[in-house]
């Protein structure tokens, strides 16, 4: 083999609309075209799913260099290979690029094909756009403007199909809008491993449905709504609530488990309307679970704590922030370190945890830990660890034991009266088994929280804080990836960003110097915690950085039939790794640093 062919297998030369490009072997033609700046419209193709090639929207012209008698490409007058174009258009979503391949994405034939497919898709499509949720992000609407005709030649009755079909608790289907692309079916089979959707009947009467006895109710069902290219599948939750073009989008992460799926928070005027997954192959591919997606309503709850409050003559009375902080500091300073307990949370950001650790240090507190949160996970995304930042707590709180291990000891210390001052950060003390009467007896019971609960009434100082969508900060997910939260909405009432509360408290107890912004806090962490060295909040970027040496799971892979075996293998590995992590969570999680 000559030197030149040594590298050849990795890249293919492909001509897209007359210009030659190089693409790695294995690139789908449709992706290659997009990279070359020629977007090919598509409905059924989804890069993380298998390719059935059924919508025919991605037809392009394809050709290969004409080979001379010596099996070498014949060159034209311009010195470039002469292309033999195939007489028929080809779909671009199911083939990988090949050496010498040439494609045309905007020739008259291609445009004619696109116009034809658009016309076919629209003839039986209801004219629902004004009342359709998908309007504004509908591929049918977009492409019919870009590739279709304005006038309908269809003079017949449209095929009638079921409307408002409740496919499951969270997903509603309008079959007349469905273009039968099968994306949702493939998602359920290939990603959610819950084969509940299917087509019944035949031809133009084909209808998407679930068996009446087994509905679409898996924890990933709302992803089908995301990938449905039209408004056929809608989120029962989001339906008719808001036109999507009014929504402001904020890139953030889900904080409902240790996976930390990347998200987009859709908001308008400080109200969250929905969360949708944001692609990140290191974390969640293109998906997120329904539980995490819908777990934001508590931020709009009427249980929200809106004002700082101080106990005065047995009752909680609203006050201003400086007085509340001063009061909290005053109460804490009356006790020695061993008399104080701090219960922090695995839902706090790294910045908040660091400030908490500083607070503990300056008060000399030993009794500090987070509340562990373990529930059944799955093989897909949902982690058993429902705390989004256990790894952050492990690194930053500087404890030698596993996060959560000391919790019960702290509770016992409260019960035995050894601990007299308790600081609760974003957790509910009710789960700790400390009798309410006893909490009520505590001379200092400082609570930083979002919602009120039974224990709130017993607090001596209540400091209303922010939820995940109301603040910035960083967390480390279960696989050791440092990721960023961003603020989508402002907190209600007088609630304040947690890091500011903690900073002020820290300064008030006399332990802090000037920390003007959350970036300053992060800088401090990067100076003291080796895994953060060299990083800043902005350097984390939208997709995060890997900072803990843990076995990173292979990304959720497209389960393409051509690569079925590969996909199965990946699946198996993933399961095996999860099992390992499950069996030896500590060993694997602590890492080598």
């Amino acid at each position: 083999m000559s030197d030149s062919t040594d590298t050849a297998p990795l890249l293919s030369n492909v001509q897209v609309d007359g210009v030659w490009h190089q693409f790695p072997k294995g690139t789908r033609v449709i992706e290659a075209c997009e990279k070359a700046g020629s977007y090919v419209p598509r409905y059924c193709y989804h890069k993380k799913l298998s390719s059935p090639g059924n919508c025919r929207m991605c037809l392009i012209e394809m050709g290969f260099p004409r080979l001379g008698p010596d099996r070498k490409p014949e060159l034209g007058a311009d010195g470039k290979p002469i292309i033999n174009w195939m007489p028929r258009p080809q779909i671009s979503c199911a083939q990988d690029v090949a050496e010498g391949m040439a494609v045309r994405t905007n020739s008259p034939l291609v445009k004619e094909c696109q116009r034809g497919v658009m016309e076919f898709l629209l003839i039986n499509h209801p004219l629902d756009c004004p009342i359709c949720d998908q309007a504004g992000e509908c591929r049918l609407q977009e492409f019919s403007v870009d590739y279709g005709d304005s006038k309908s030649r269809f003079l017949e009755n449209k095929v009638k199909k079921p409307k408002n079909v409740v496919l499951g608790p969270r997903v509603t289907l309008d079959d007349e809008r469905c273009i039968l692309c099968s994306r949702c079916i493939r998602f359920c089979q290939e990603i959610a491993h819950d084969d509940v959707l299917g087509f019944v009947d035949r031809g133009s009467y084909t209808v998407l449905t679930a068996h009446p006895g087994k509905r679409l109710e898996n924890n990933y069902s709302l992803n089908t709504v995301d990938i449905c290219p039209v408004g056929a599948l809608t989120s029962t939750d989001f339906r008719f609530k808001m036109r999507v073009w009014f929504l402001k989008e904020t890139k953030s992460i889900c904080t409902s488990c240790a996976t930390g799926c990347n998200t987009i928070i859709g908001t308008r005027e400080d109200v969250i309307y929905r969360q949708t997954p944001r692609e990140n192959d290191h974390v969640n591919s293109c998906w997120m679970c329904d539980y995490g997606r819908l777990n934001f309503y508590y931020l709009q709850s009427d249980q929200r704590l809106l004002e700082p409050q101080i106990r005065s003559e047995g009752k909680l009375v609203p006050t201003d922030w400086p007085s509340a902080i001063a009061q909290a500091a005053l109460q804490l300073k009356q006790f020695s370190g061993p008399e104080i307990g701090i219960i922090a949370s695995g839902r706090m950001t790294n910045e908040e945890l660091w400030l908490t650790s500083q607070l503990a240090k300056s008060l000399g507190v030993q009794w500090i830990d987070i509340v562990p949160r373990r529930e059944p996970g799955d093989d897909i995304l949902l982690s058993e660890d429902r705390n989004p930042n256990t790894n952050g707590a492990r690194l930053i709180l500087g404890s030698t034991s596993e996060p959560g291990a000391k919790l019960m000891a702290i509770a016992d210390a409260v019960k035995s009266g050894q601990v007299k001052a308790l600081v609760i950060l974003k957790e509910n003390t009710m789960h700790l088994g400390i009798p309410v009467e006893q909490l009520a007896q505590l001379p200092a019971f400082i609570m930083v929280n979002i919602l009120s609960n039974e224990a709130t009434e017993k607090a001596t100082v209540v400091l209303p804080a922010c939820g995940f969508a109301e603040k910035r900060g960083s967390m480390i997910n279960g696989r050791g990836r440092l990721q960023r939260l961003n603020r989508g909405v402002r907190p209600p009432g007088n609630a304040r960003d947690d890091w500011e509360i903690l900073r002020d408290l820290l300064q008030a107890v006399g332990g802090g110097d000037s920390l003007l912004s959350i970036d300053d806090v992060f800088r401090r962490i990067s100076e003291t915690v080796p895994q953060f060295a060299g990083l800043t909040l902005s350097k984390i970027g939208d997709l995060g950085v890997h900072i803990l040496q843990m076995e990173e799971l292979p990304p959720m892979h497209p389960s393409d039939e051509e690569k079925i075996e590969q996909a199965v293998a990946i699946q198996t590995t993933r399961r095996a790794i999860r099992q390992q992590l499950h069996d030896a969570p500590k060993a694997a999680a602590v890492g080598t640093h």
Binding site: P52, G53, N54, R56, R88, P89, A94, E112, C113, G116, V117, E119, F120, L121, I123, P126, R153, F154, L155, E156, N157, K158, V159, K160, P162, K163, N164, V165, V166, L167, P169, R170, E176, D195, G198, F199, V200, D201, R202, G203, S204, Y205, T206, T209, H211, P212, K214, R215, E217, S256, Y291, L294, N295, Y297, Y298, S301, Q303, L451, G467, I564
Partner: protein, 648 residues
């Protein structure tokens, strides 16, 4: 039931779904909800997987039929011979209201008040030469004139089914049909052995595999299923050192309207087919062969199963065949009324227990990624029978039959407006269209003139009787000359019919005389394709029904001026842009009819504006009127536990 499951590889039990559905329906009369759940459970599938099948395959019904179920063919040849009147008469005699199957394909079954009888229109039953036909229970009744409806009902047993055979015409060359219609012929293996049967299998087993493949290559045999692809070339795609199992599938789904040849082989000469399959299996090193026989051949399936057992008893099937140390099993798999399962990849999906959705090629070329993602060869019944004769004659000798590149014999099926419809085995290209129609098929009925011919199954482009065809002929010195010929002079072979702008297809020749209304004919064809489109890909799914709706409206007097042009462009937008060749199959008739009979279409399309449509309602109104179903809410306590609001 467990026996049925045992016919498929352990890790592909899903394949048994259709056999189980058949068994259930035979026993209980229809597929109940319970059946769906039970079968899904039995095979470790989800209920939706079974529901998808029940609603895809028209033969499975979700409501009970009558004690006697009558299926009347409504496709072109039968419709021309009066099957619609037959249906009317049957309904009148039985007191059944058969609502005309307007829109929607579902539940066209109509049951008599006493539950004794039910009737149903079905698509071509592959007996177009003896039109009109119907099936009563599992039995086919041929040449059932509309007037005889009462007779067959009164006395189904005495109206004995009379297979319609005819002795060979002098222009015929019988090879595969040698024994069809012989008075002394039975399907018993002894009869076949007595005739020299299985000698070629014995001979083949002594030859090397490549030897057989080469013989088939040299014979020039082209597939008889429709595409006319070189059989030897197809076989050579299988690597001799292939590690994965190789499968051979015999395509006995014969359902292209106008085609009725495989039916005769399956029903009257099953051992010839088995011998062809066994030789082919040996040549391809395939240890498993499936015969995918269309669901409407229940008797044929039983005959094949019996033949396989007979062959096993003689050690032609099974382990160590005739001491050759070669093993092969042959299984019969029944379809259930879906035309698209004749398309080879649709067939493979169906055999895997799924909806018969054709696969995209690339990457799913059957020879590479076929059944169970293993290399697979799909061949037509007739093609496989020829293999036996190629072994008998030798490849080169066989290639002398017919014309270069169009070798051997093939069965041409003539139906429609001729006096003696039926099958004729000819040397390919040795007979002209004129000879076929006027000499062999007895010409048109008295006083009638030829109007058009559909030469290769209803999907082939129509040829007009007064058309002139410019055909290039290669001279012996290599030069080509162009000759203009009439329809009568077209040679009945692959290349000539292609040159005439149509195709030899499946060999089904449908003759239309001057009494036929071409819009009516096209509408019947469109009805077939709209009904049979699998619905997977956009152009065919939407276009086939659209074309049918237009021709339907034209027939009812509502044709508008733009209709012919619209029809043509719909066809243009389908052909060449679909997953499978069904796209062409459904577009070609429309394209060619509208182009070649433009005056008839224009005459039917004179309205300036379309007739008003029945009123459209908003979805909400329709829901109110109960015309649209709203599925009930499923309750899901599990999820609510996992994460309702406020889990904080």
């Amino acid at each position: 039931m467990d026996a049925a499951i045992g016919l498929y590889p352990q890790d592909h039990r899903r394949s048994a779904a259709m056999p189980l559905l058949h068994l259930w329906q035979e026993h209980f009369g229809f597929i109940s909800d319970e059946a769906v759940l039970w079968i899904a459970e039995k095979l470790g599938l989800q209920p939706i997987n079974i529901l998808e099948l029940v609603t895809f395959y028209p033969m499975f019904r979700q409501q009970p039929a009558g004690k006697t179920h009558i299926r009347v063919c409504c496709t072109l040849s039968c419709a021309m011979a009066g099957s619609f009147e037959l249906m009317e008469n049957l309904c009148a005699d039985l007191g059944i209201q058969h609502q005309s199957d307007g829109e929607g394909i579902h539940n066209p079954i109509a049951v008599s008040a006493d539950g004794n009888y039910s009737v149903e229109f079905v698509e071509c039953l592959a007996s177009c030469g003896t039109a009109p036909v119907c099936m009563i229970g599992e039995q086919l009744y041929e040449k059932v004139s509309p007037e005889s409806a009462a007779d067959i009902l009164l006395n189904p047993q005495s109206a004995i089914r009379n297979p319609q055979f005819h002795s060979p015409h002098p222009l015929e060359h019988r090879l595969t049909f040698k024994n069809i219609g012989r008075a002394d012929w039975t399907t018993d293996i002894d009869c076949y052995l007595h005739d020299g049967g299985y000698e070629q299998l014995k001979q083949g087993l002594t030859m090397s595999r490549s030897d057989i493949v080469n013989k088939v290559k040299n014979s020039g045999l082209r597939g008889r299923g429709g595409a006319g692809f070189s059989c030897g070339l197809k076989w050579s795609f299988i690597k001799p050192d292939e590690k994965r199992p190789v499968y051979l599938i015999c395509n006995a789904d014969e359902s292209e309207p106008g085609t009725f040849k495989d039916r005769y082989i399956v029903h009257y000469d099953p051992h010839q087919l088995l011998e062809g399959i066994l030789i082919s299996c040996y040549a391809l090193n395939a240890h498993t062969a499936y015969i995918y026989v269309r669901g409407e051949f229940p008797v044929g399936a039983k005959i094949l199963e019996r033949a396989i057992e007979e062959a096993r008893a003689h050690n032609f099937v099974g382990k160590n065949i005739l001491g050759s140390r070669f093993d092969t099993e042959i299984y019969v798999h029944r379809g259930a009324g879906a035309y698209i399962c004749g398309e080879e990849t649709g067939l493979i999906e169906s055999l895997e227990g799924k909806r018969g959705y054709p696969r995209i090629k690339p990457p799913y070329f059957p020879a590479v990624l076929g059944l169970y993602m293993c290399p697979t060869i799909v061949n037509n019944v007739e093609t496989l029978c020829h293999v036996k004769h190629i072994i008998a004659m030798g490849g080169a000798e066989y290639a002398r039959l017919g014309r270069p590149n169009n070798t051997g014999t093939r069965i041409v099926c003539v139906s429609g407006d001729v006096q003696r419809p039926g099958y004729f085995e000819i040397e390919v290209g040795a007979v002209t269209m004129g000879q076929l129609i006027y000499e062999m098929a007895g010409g048109l009925r008295p006083g009638r003139k030829l109007k058009a011919v559909i030469p290769g199954g209803s999907s082939a482009k129509v040829l007009r009787a007064d058309e002139r065809f410019k055909l290039k002929r290669r001279q012996t010195d290599g030069s080509t000359v162009e000759r203009e010929i009439s329809i009568d002079e077209i040679l009945m072979d692959f290349d000539s019919l292609t040159a005439a702008g149509s195709m030899a297809g499946s060999g089904g020749v449908i003759v239309l005389d001057d009494s036929r209304d071409m819009v009516w004919v096209l509408n019947n064809i469109n009805e077939f394709y709209a009904h049979e489109s699998c619905g997977q890909c956009t152009p065919c799914r939407e276009g086939s029904l659209w074309m049918k709706k237009i021709t339907d409206r034209m027939l009812r007097g509502g044709g508008v001026v733009e209709d012919p042009e619209t029809l043509k462009t719909i066809g243009d937008n389908i052909a060449g842009r679909t997953i499978c060749a069904f796209g062409e199959a459904c577009a070609w008739p429309t394209q060619s009819f509208v182009e070649k009979f433009s005056e008839e279409f224009a005459a039917r399309a004179q309205k300036p504006v379309p007739p008003p449509l029945p009123p459209e309602y908003t979805p909400e109104e329709l829901i109110e009127r109960d015309e649209i179903s709203i599925a009930p809410l499923a309750h899901d306590p599990g999820w609510e536990k996992a994460g309702t609001a406020g889990t904080i």
